[in-house]
């Protein structure tokens, strides 16, 4: 299995009809958000906070973050738990898919005409059978510029 070193595992997620992949090393858990507390005056991307086994988790609405249209509100949502700099976050997605092993060598750079809101969080594209998977750079998703939003 010499190619093992090049294989990366991704947790796949559907957000607004598009398939995304999050590096599995980043993913802590997957949970259904309950008892979400909205945070007044927060940036629109922040869906709220909730208590997940005693930790306060900040939920980021991926649709908002990626500039996709807002969810219609009826469909259930699911969250992928990630951790960054000692803080817990939940990324709200539409649905969770299987875990894929993909060869890193096959990852292609972002097409130049990719929507800038997608491009800023994308670490490249994998061509799968019948669809494209965008690799999400979790750190960049969490890099919400507070000042720009507050202004």
């Amino acid at each position: 299995m010499s190619s093992e070193t090049h294989l990366k595992e991704y947790v796949t997620a559907m957000i607004g009809g598009q398939l995304f992949g999050l590096p599995i090393l980043h993913v802590q858990d997957v949970f259904i958000p309950e008892r979400l507390t909205r945070v007044p005056l927060a940036p629109p991307e922040i869906a709220g906070v909730l208590n997940l086994r005693g930790r306060i988790v900040t939920l980021i609405d991926m649709r908002g973050r990626l500039g996709l249209e807002a969810r219609d509100g009826k469909r259930p949502v699911i969250a992928i738990g990630v951790e960054s700099r000692g803080e817990s976050y939940g990324l709200l997605i539409d649905s969770i898919g299987e875990v894929l092993k993909l060869d890193d060598a096959a990852r292609e750079p972002n097409p130049i005409n990719l929507d800038p809101r997608l491009a800023r969080v994308s670490a490249g594209i994998h061509r799968l059978e019948g669809q494209l998977l965008m690799v999400v750079d979790v750190e960049r998703v969490l890099d919400i510029d507070m000042m720009a939003i507050a202004a």
């Binding site: 008892r35 945070v39 005056l41 909730l50 208590n51 306060i56 700099r85 803080e87 919400i144 507070m146």
Partner: protein, 870 residues
């Protein structure tokens, strides 16, 4: 980092802190062999350890310092220069330690300069003294490392000295000792048997605290569940769990506690250095150093305290010459004290220096647009002093260099705000200054009030909540609307109100009903305001968790927490609310100013504008009005030819502004209610127009009874109503009125009265009579103003005042040569022959009944004429 090295750095830093303090003590008390022995031993230990760990720079420095101190011990005088040099050496050692901690090695560089100085000093202080340790001994002093773990007072100096003198020791001993310094420490402690302690890293404690916090949360959750199930078998064990958790929480909190003395340790040294630098003699007194508080809190107040002490030494205390001239002892004093009170720790920093320069602060506040000139004259001295905490107040160089005070006090307040504390200042010119800081013992777990606003729950820290008021349309406490601003008249104060849901932008805009809800009366610093919430649940001990870094920019929240039912709620930051409230008011005022005529920054008064009898606008200072009422006209009764209304259980007379104002027969009748003591009267008006902020500058005096004159308010000519005219119409004894016109010469009057009502009422009356009025609320304030060198043509003082009454005030004035010539007019509600006689004895020039306004003006006219002639 190498564990040995880390231990060394930690311990050496601690030792050096002690050396710092002890050296300063030693300098003051050079004959105290005990102190010197202690210093000597500590430095010696450091030196020994350095050799052991192969830190040549540190070792050479420590050695040179030790040699000099050896001279002191041999009986040579510890001169200021010599001590300064040793302190400088210790500073250098600290620098090296810092980089040692960072880079795990000694920094490059040489200390030949310091060492040379030290050696020169050794020679200078007396070559006749016992010979210093030979230089060659440097590298071989290692065996002393065995003493490293020793605690103060453990070994006699003699033993040490012997070891020190018998320098050559064979290296194998060192090697033998090397592997087990920790064991040695342990044995040592065990041998001592008494005070046993172990070193635990802060991280471990933090972790423990976090776990306990979690436990508290879980317990809260369990309690919540059990509350819902009436007779649960869990009840008893849960009660037990709850108690144990509380005890555990307390225990862990205790481990985080550190004596505040740790934050004070560096102060004696700082004060010493400053006193040398500034040529002042300063005594630093510290009380309550053993008072314990949470180390997190301790870290945050360390810098502010240092800053304040530095300020006191630098700017507060005068030079010895100045102090002599002021009749004070040459030695300036700075006090630091700390003690527990309730769940808080109170820290005071005080000095007996010159106090704050009120005039300077005033000028500065006006220059920065924080207050208008007219307003600032009305502010109490205490209020003016609070300006030093205003952000940016101190940045300008003028106040720093000239008056000297207020340097960075905004920064200090910020730090204290951060830990949910409060700071207050008291200053008496020429006598001294004191800061009082009140902070919670711990930050991790606080009591909070759980409230609801806009359908969501929030926690408000109990520390800043003063009281809770239930607002109902028919209750004592009613929310009133002044144009777009909601206010609450609570006892004597008008509180600005803010609806939490509005501040946070939650809930529906339409259900903003002012007749219901709760008002959380909150205080932040000197600012008191009300937060309107929809309902109040209970208080709960909450575990404060920091906001996510993505949400930390929201000033309205200080953190979040998990409630017993498992949901997350935001903790309101009262400071943020105060700021939002401030900017609301400011933006409101700016909008007003932009719409109307430009308002000069110096002089504005809040005025209530209304119509009565004609379309002519009339105004009265808002501060005079107790309440605005709208009553059902059918409730107005006619009794003995006068209109009356039943108001709060008594009959309140209604007075019409003039003949053309008709008391309405039906509908709602607007009234302006004036209250003084138990009496209330209401002025009948046609319509309340607005509340405005503008200059009150009466340009045309009026001959009409009841009108002081006309002023331009927001671009329109407006009659300023003389409330004093209407009060006796309701109660004949309220005032006795004479017909007399006042002089128009601009003379200055110092008005002293503890009742804001009279100050507010008399100020415009006297101003209208052509006097410049400075109103203060107490005799002490008046004396302070006079001490500053302000002069007045005449003083008018109330007799009945708390603390210092009018008689005492007059006596104090007579006792001061600068003020002895100041005519004093006494105001009193009781004019008995006896009081008049006593007044004459203490030196009152005139005695006027409190409500005899015209009599007062006549008396003023007479006294200022005398003053003029004199």
């Amino acid at each position: 980092m190498d564990e040995l090295l880390r231990d060394f750095v930690t311990e050496t830093n601690e030792s050096l802190d002690v050396v710092d303090v002890e050296l300063v003590r030693f300098e003051q008390d050079p004959n105290n062999a005990k102190i010197l022995a202690n210093i000597f031993r500590l430095v010696h230990t450091i030196k020994g350890t350095c050799g052991f760990l192969n830190l040549p720079r540190l070792e050479a420095l420590a050695h040179a310092a030790e040699t000099l101190m050896g001279k002191f011990r041999d009986g040579l005088p510890a001169t200021n220069d010599a001590v300064t040099l040793v302190l400088a050496t210790i500073d250098r050692i600290k620098e090296i330690l810092d980089s040692l901690e960072r880079d795990q090695r000694e920094p490059d560089g040489a200390d030949a300069d310091l060492i040379a100085d030290l050696e020169r000093m050794v020679e200078r202080v007396g070559s006749s003294a016992a010979p210093a340790a030979p230089k060659k001994a440097v590298g071989t002093l290692a065996p002393q490392v065995l003493e490293r773990p020793l605690r103060p007072g453990e070994d006699s100096l003699d033993d040490l000295e012997r070891a020190f003198r018998e320098t050559p020791v064979d290296p194998p001993v060192v090697k033998h000792a090397k592997p087990a310094p920790a064991d040695a420490a342990k044995d040592d402690a065990a041998a001592k048997g008494g005070h046993q302690s172990i070193r635990v890293t802060v991280d471990t404690l933090e972790n423990l605290m976090t776990m306990v916090s979690e436990l508290v949360l879980t317990r809260n959750q369990l309690l919540e569940i059990v509350r819902r199930h009436q007779d649960s078998e869990f009840k008893t064990p849960l009660q037990r769990l709850s108690n144990v958790t509380a005890e555990l929480q307390e225990g862990v909190m205790k481990t985080r506690m550190q004596p505040i003395g740790n934050a004070w340790q560096k102060l004696p040294r700082i004060v010493r250095d400053l006193s040398n630098e500034l040529g002042k003699q300063i005594d630093l007194e510290m009380q309550g150093a053993e008072t314990e508080l949470d180390r997190q809190v301790l870290d945050l107040i360390k810098d502010p305290l240092t800053h304040m002490v530095r300020n006191s030494a630098d700017h507060g205390l005068e030079t010895p010459e100045q102090r002599r001239a002021a009749g004070k002892p040459e030695h300036g004093r700075i006090w630091l004290s700390a003690y527990h009170e309730g769940g808080y720790i109170i820290i005071q920093v005080a000095d007996d220096g010159r106090g704050l320069d009120t005039a300077r602060i005033k000028a500065k506040a006006v220059a920065q647009g924080l207050a208008s000139e007219a307003d600032i004259d009305k502010l109490s001295e205490a209020h003016i002093h609070k300006f030093i905490f205003t952000p940016g107040f101190s940045t300008a160089a003028t106040i720093t260099n000239v008056s000297g005070r207020g340097v960075g006090m905004d920064v200090v307040r910020n730090n204290i705000d951060q830990i949910g504390g409060t700071i207050d200042v008291k200053s008496v010119a020429g006598v001294g200054l004191s800061f009082t800081i009140k902070i919670p013992l711990t930050l991790a777990i606080v009591a909070a009030l759980i409230v609801e606003a806009g359908g969501e729950r929030f926690a408000i820290p109990q520390l800043s909540v003063i009281e809770l008021v239930r607002a109902r349309s028919n209750s004592e406490h009613r929310i009133e609307r002044i144009k777009d601003t909601a206010v609450l008249r609570l006892r004597d104060k008008l509180l600005p109100l803010a609806r939490l849901s509005e501040l946070l932008g939650v809930g529906q805009a339409k259900d903003r009903d002012l007749t219901s809800g709760f008002i959380v009366v909150t205080q932040v610093g000197a600012q008191t305001f009300g937060i309107i919430v929809d309902s109040v649940f209970h208080t709960e001990e909450i575990v404060v968790k920091p906001m996510s870094s993505k949400l930390r920019h929201i000033a309205m929240f200080s953190g979040n927490t998990i409630l017993g039912d498992g949901s997350v709620i935001m903790i309101i930051d009262p400071n943020g609310v105060a700021q939002a409230l401030g900017s609301l008011v400011t933006s409101h005022l700016t909008a007003e100013a932009a719409a109307g005529s430009p308002v000069p920054a110096e002089q504005t008064t809040s005025l209530l504008v209304f119509r009565a009898g004609s379309s002519q606008l009339k105004a009265v200072p808002l501060s005079l009005i107790t309440r605005l009422e709208e009553i059902d006209a059918r409730k107005i009764e006619l009794s003995n030819g006068r209109h009356m209304v039943q108001y709060r259980g008594t009959l309140m007379p209604l007075v019409s502004m003039n003949e053309s104002v008709r008391v309405k027969g039906e509908g709602a009748q607007p009234l302006l209610v004036f209250t003084d003591g138990a009496r209330s009267m209401a002025l009948v008006v046609d319509e309340i127009v607005d509340i405005v902020e503008d200059r009150l500058d009466i340009q045309v005096a009026s001959d009409n009874a009841g009108v002081l004159g006309s002023a331009i308010i927001k671009g329109q000519a407006t009659e300023i109503i003389d409330v004093g005219h209407f009060l006796p119409l309701a109660f004949e004894d309220w005032f006795r009125r004479k017909d007399q016109r006042a002089s128009t010469k601009p003379r200055s009057v110092l008005l002293v009265d503890d009742s804001p009502f009279f100050r507010n009422m008399l100020t415009p009356v006297l101003q209208a009579a052509g006097y410049e009025v400075t109103a203060v609320g107490s005799a002490q304030e008046a004396l302070a103003i006079l001490k500053e060198g302000r002069s007045f043509d005449v003083a008018v003082t109330d007799i009945e005042m708390p603390d210092m009454d009018g008689f005492e005030f007059a006596l104090a004035l007579r006792g001061d040569p600068r003020c002895a010539g100041l005519p004093v007019i006494a105001l009193s509600s009781v004019v008995s022959a006896e009081a008049v006689e006593r007044g004459r004895q203490v030196g009152f020039h005139d005695y006027v009944a409190k409500f005899d306004r015209q009599g007062l003006i006549a008396a003023l006219k007479e006294q200022t004429a005398v003053g003029c002639a004199a």
